[in-house]
Each structure stands twice: as structure tokens, then as C-alpha cells.
Symmetry: C2
Subunit: 207 residues, 2 copies
């Protein structure tokens, strides 16, 4: 492939990641993407075979980027004490509340998919990529009694992920009335502890 076309492709990809992270798949139009990327309308269909193809590629990039993250390395998580691993996981999930970096965008895209999976994700998963819900399930399992069923562990993981993503996905919402939350470092630290403790006490002693 030629250099100039790579530039267009990357511009689209970058704009798409930012917009999908902010507004989700349905909330983002191709016209908004090409405007942000400053490319032609037809470029998305030419380079990605349509909006769905582009989103598929975005999921791929986000997933690869996510796996490259230190704190998510499965082995590293397993080597930590379970309490520390849990807190690290939660903190990472809440990262988009503070930072606006690329990793935060990846996490936020998955936060959208987490409760409202698009049909694109379904195909993406079939392609061979393992949804990180499995990692969350494994993590949660360390707090559950031995022999806990897959179903119970899955539900616990869903609940944990749901608690994080509800804050991430609706960040803007919660900063306004009637919520009026001030989202700063102190708040995120507190929230990290809060959710971790919730999971820690709740899962370990409850189920």
C-alpha cells in the first residue's frame, strides 16, 4: 500500500476511535468521522468496506492496544495478590474518567460494548479474539469459593464490569444536575476503593 493512502486510513481510524469512544457505535455517524478526519465521504467505504468494517477494525485496534497494557497482562494479574489485582483492574476500568489518552478510549469503547453489544462485536468475537470479560471472570473467581459454577462467576464478573462501565459511559451525565459529581483524581481514587471494596466484601462473603 502507498503512503498517502495509509495516511487517510490512519486518519479515519484515529477519528473513529475518538468518536466511537465518546458516543458509541450508533451515536456516531460516518459524516462525523470523515469531518473529524478531514477526508472524503467515500473514503470509509473505500478503505474499510463500510461503517461496520471500520468499527470492526476499531475493535481490533482497541483490543490489541488493551492487551498491550501492563495492568491487563493476564500473567501479571495472576502474580499479584488477589486484592491488589482486583483494585488494579477496577482502577484501570475507571481510567477514562480522568485521562483522555488512547488507552482510555479503548476502554471506553469496550464499556459501550459491555452492556449493549453491537452485532459487529459478535463477529469480532467469533474471529478468535477473546472478550476481556473472560479475564474479569477469572479475576472474580479468585474471590469465590472453589467449585463455584461458571454461571455464578460470570454473573459476578458482569456485575463488576457493569459497576465500572456505568460510571465510564455516563461520565458527562454524572457531572451535571441532578448528580453534580466532581470527577477528579480524589474522586476516582475513592470510587476505585469503593467498587473494589464492594466486590471484595460482596463477592467473597456473599455468593
Amino acid at each position: 500500500m502507498s503512503r498517502p493512502s495509509d495516511y487517510t486510513r490512519n486518519a479515519i481510524l484515529k477519528a473513529a476511535i475518538a468518536l466511537f469512544a465518546e458516543h458509541g457505535y450508533d451515536g456516531t455517524s460516518v459524516r462525523a468521522i470523515v469531518a473529524k478526519a478531514r477526508v472524503n465521504q467515500a473514503a470509509i467505504n473505500y478503505h474499510f468496506k463500510g461503517k461496520e468494517g471500520l468499527y470492526f477494525e476499531v475493535l481490533k485496534v482497541a483490543f490489541e492496544g488493551y492487551l498491550r497494557l501492563d495492568n491487563f497482562d493476564p500473567q501479571r494479574l495472576k502474580d499479584m495478590p488477589r486484592e491488589e489485582a482486583l483494585r488494579s483492574f477496577v482502577r484501570q476500568q475507571l481510567r477514562p474518567l480522568l485521562a483522555r489518552d488512547q488507552m482510555s478510549r479503548y476502554i471506553r469503547i469496550f464499556a459501550w460494548e459491555n452492556v449493549r453489544p453491537s452485532k459487529v462485536l459478535a463477529n469480532f468475537v467469533k474471529t478468535g479474539a477473546i472478550p476481556f470479560l473472560e479475564s474479569a471472570t477469572e479475576l472474580v473467581r479468585r474471590f469465590l469459593p472453589p467449585g463455584t459454577s461458571d454461571r455464578d462467576a460470570l454473573c459476578a464478573a458482569i456485575a463488576l464490569m457493569g459497576q465500572c462501565s456505568v460510571f465510564v459511559r455516563n461520565r458527562e451525565q454524572f457531572t451535571q444536575p441532578p448528580f453534580n459529581l466532581t470527577i477528579d483524581e480524589a474522586f476516582v481514587s475513592w470510587l476505585t476503593d469503593f467498587i473494589s471494596q464492594l466486590a471484595l466484601n460482596g463477592i467473597a462473603r456473599g455468593a
Copy 2:
């Protein structure tokens, strides 16, 4: 108002409640509503001044119906032991997992609004209706140490509501691969206990 026009109005309202509960506000088109209600396309604008006006009315009906519910009567909740009140609240929130009755539709509509509030709800709240998030906050507060800040209680309530609604809103999703949850009476009972215990142990000892 004349009888025949009331019939049309009610038919629209009924169809809208079912569809909004199933697919949310954005996921429901006026054409789908009039098709289900078997009325003319223009009827929604005539009777409700547009889709938003209809949704406003749906929220009103849902909210009134919700308040008529025994288990949500604020006084009744307050008279219960806090553990029983919590379990009752959670069970009620999970009701749409099993039943397909009118009350379940109301709860499900609020489950949609819970994480992705429409601008219509904002106006609805301003009109004077108290979002039931406040009741949840009060309920949660009984488990928190005296003097807990409003912010902390609010976050705990959001987390609690989020845990319930993620299951309610994505019911169909979770019955399919890769989740494969079987949603029956036994599961809902277990889930009720699970989430209640999660909140009970987590909130009471964690925050």
C-alpha cells in the same frame, strides 16, 4: 374528549410502553409504534405533539404505575428491616427478567433511562416527579455509616441500580452465546440474593 379518540390515544400509549421498554427511546421508531397500535402515522403528533411528547407521557404513566406498587411505597420500605427492604427492592428491579407484565415494562423503561437518560427525562424530572434514584439513595443510606456524604450515598445507589439494570436491559443478550444464562425463577432468586448480598456486605462494610 370523545370515546373513540381515547381509544386511539390508549392504543398508542400501550404500544409505546411495550416498545420503549423493549428497545429504549432511540431504538423505537414512531412507525413501529403506529404499526403495533394499528393507528395512523399522524396520530402520535395529533395526540401527543410528537415522539418526545409521547415519551413524556409514557414516563408519566410508568412513574405513576411504579409508585402504585406495594413494594416501592416509600413508607412500606422504611418500615421494613433494612435487609428485607434491600432484598425487596432488588427483587423488584429484577422483575422484568421473569414477568412480562405492565409493571415489568415500567421498570424496564427506567432501566433504560438509568444509564442513558434521554433529554425527555430531564424535562420530566423538572416537572416535579422525583426520580426513584432518590428512593434508592435513601435505601442505601440505611446501610452506610451515619454522616455519609450525599455523594457517597449517590454513588452507592448508582452502583446498585446499575447492577440490576445491566441484567434487565440486556436480558435477551445474556440468554445467548457466549453467556448462555438460563433465566428462570431459580436464577432470578439466586441473582436477587447475590446482588443483595453484594450490596449488603459491600456497602455496609466497605464504604
